[in-house]
Symmetry: C2
Subunit: 332 residues, 2 copies
């Protein structure tokens, strides 16, 4: 049996397109002592992949050209030469865009123990997206009941979780999303008190209209013009969580925007970057809390599942075009 | 005896110049029950005055046209109808650019009890500047011994205190200042490990050369191009204290600059505004600590004293031209 892999073959300066990848069939790797073979059932597609591909400064070293595209995946141990990872164990981890891989324990994010819940959730609401939403909101945002929490990409995998968790914490939530359909999803499915379509002539005014007392917590996944419309609406002592910069197509050349210093100064606001990989020690406790909320019906999620490894190359570009509703996954 | 007052008569969009003020002689105010008369000995000149004059959003309501220019001052009670403020009491407070004033206790910042130290210090190193340096550095910057602390306007009243306090806390300090003379002052008088003249072709590179491991704490008084050269040099988990925006001549129209979101994200950095007026409860303890350091010879300061109320109108513009060395004051 061959192993299908998706290799990165170009390093684009903007979002990677389908032809920046190539699908190849290779012979499966041998299995050295201390390692185990994982067959992937779901591959993750994340906005952060753009940063992993770029060769500019980032929080992770760039994916080497010609190598398997770095990604999270959920799979099952099918062959093992490691005493702690028995055949049949379900895992999420850094298994890459490929059908199978031979890995050691350092590639594993966690064992998937929620047998009552779909395996795919380990890549979304019970994975990097849900945990990011939960930990970034609570550790940096520190929302207090009654405060107003505004979220960009509010219908997305992270944003929709942020809104629901903020609601659970007693906050008033405002979602910003692209188009009427996603805005309706924010309100009807994810319980945002209000949703604002960013594709409108005066976003700054629209935000003010629904949050006249100001935004206490801004959970930002986009940067760019949407954020520029939020900054003038910050409340005193506001917190801004910089979780992603999805609206910026490239940082070469570095883009300019309205300076934030004066907003931060006059509002005594705090703006801080969040990267999930700093939070290993809190990860499993966060997953447990999220799973409880999912089981109680308090935390809803959407998945956007594409079938077959041949869907991988175009999946990231489609994500940046906003064509998905909810967490994008590849099912193998 | 008449009271000379400096009135604000124009509201400039940039820094106020001498002809935006007018000096008038008026009859002294009567003294109602519960108030007291203060004769000012020193008037303060602070960069923040530009913001108090502007009518755009700020942390304080704008000084009304035709009224006495808002300022801190140090003076003495000469007549009192308040049981707690005896004649002869020395005070710092919001007494304005004028020779004397009739005030109630809410205008008082503190009683000046350091009889062994010059009265003028209550407006500088033992006043708003020293306390800002101390509290902003420790509460937002949270420097750890061995870390690198970079300060803009490093030869100024706030910056020079920041550098010395950071040294006392065991940090390595880098000052950014304008011109060779001020840079020498930073190193020779205020003990910065290195000083960088911002008037040079490649400031970003110059900062990297003296802090190759990155800047852990950036105490920013300027925003603008100096900050733009610091952001690419941030260390992981850096803290940025937004204390002032002195390099920005006007926020109408709002200026643009390189977007900070990506720096904050990739470096998990935190950027936060500081306004001294939020810190009333910590003020006196901070003054006591600063006074101890001054008496021990561990905290040096410079004063730039102009004589006579007629020096007021042009004093702020001169400050923004960088003509002062140390805390600018008017002595009456």
């Amino acid at each position: 049996m061959k192993n299908c892999q998706v290799l990165l073959i170009n390093r684009p300066t903007e979002v990677a397109q389908a032809d920046d990848f190539k699908i190849v069939e290779t012979d499966p790797d041998p299995l050295p002592q201390g390692s185990f073979r994982v067959v992937n059932h779901f591959l993750s597609v994340d906005p952060a992949m753009r940063g992993w591909i770029a060769d500019e400064g980032n929080y992770a070293s760039p994916v080497p050209l010609g190598s398997v595209m770095r990604s999270l995946a959920a799979g099952e141990v099918v062959e093992s030469k490691h005493p702690d990872f028995a055949v049949g164990t379900l895992l999420s981890g850094w298994f890459g865009w490929q059908e199978q891989c031979v890995v050691t324990p350092d590639a594993v994010v966690r064992r998937i123990t929620e047998a009552d819940l779909p395996l795919s959730l380990s890549l979304g609401i019970l994975g990097i997206n849900g945990v990011t939403a939960h930990l970034a909101l609570t550790t940096i945002g520190q929302p207090i009941a009654g405060e107003t929490v505004l979220v960009s990409t509010a219908a997305g995998a992270v944003g929709s979780a942020v809104g629901q968790i903020a609601n659970l914490l007693g906050c008033r939530t405002i979602g910003v999303a692209g188009g009427k359909r996603k805005c309706n999803l924010c309100v009807d499915e994810f319980g945002f008190a209000a949703a604002i379509d960013y594709k409108q002539p005066d976003l700054e005014y629209a935000i003010r209209a629904v949050s006249p007392a100001g935004v206490d917590v801004y959970f930002d996944n986009v940067a760019g013009p949407i954020s520029d419309a939020v900054y003038p609406n910050l409340a005193l002592n506001a917190r801004i969580i910089v979780c992603g910069t999805a609206s910026i197509a490239t940082w070469k050349p570095w883009p300019s925007g309205p300076r934030v210093e004066r907003y931060l100064l006059t509002k005594r606001a705090r703006m801080q970057g969040f990267v999930i990989f700093d939070h290993d020690t809190e990860y499993l406790a966060s997953v447990a809390q999220l799973a409880t909320w999912v089981r109680e019906g308090k935390l809803h999620y959407r998945e956007d599942i594409l079938d077959g490894i041949e869907a991988c190359p175009g999946a990231l570009a489609g994500l940046y075009r906003g064509e998905n509703e909810g967490k994008r996954l590849i099912r193998l």
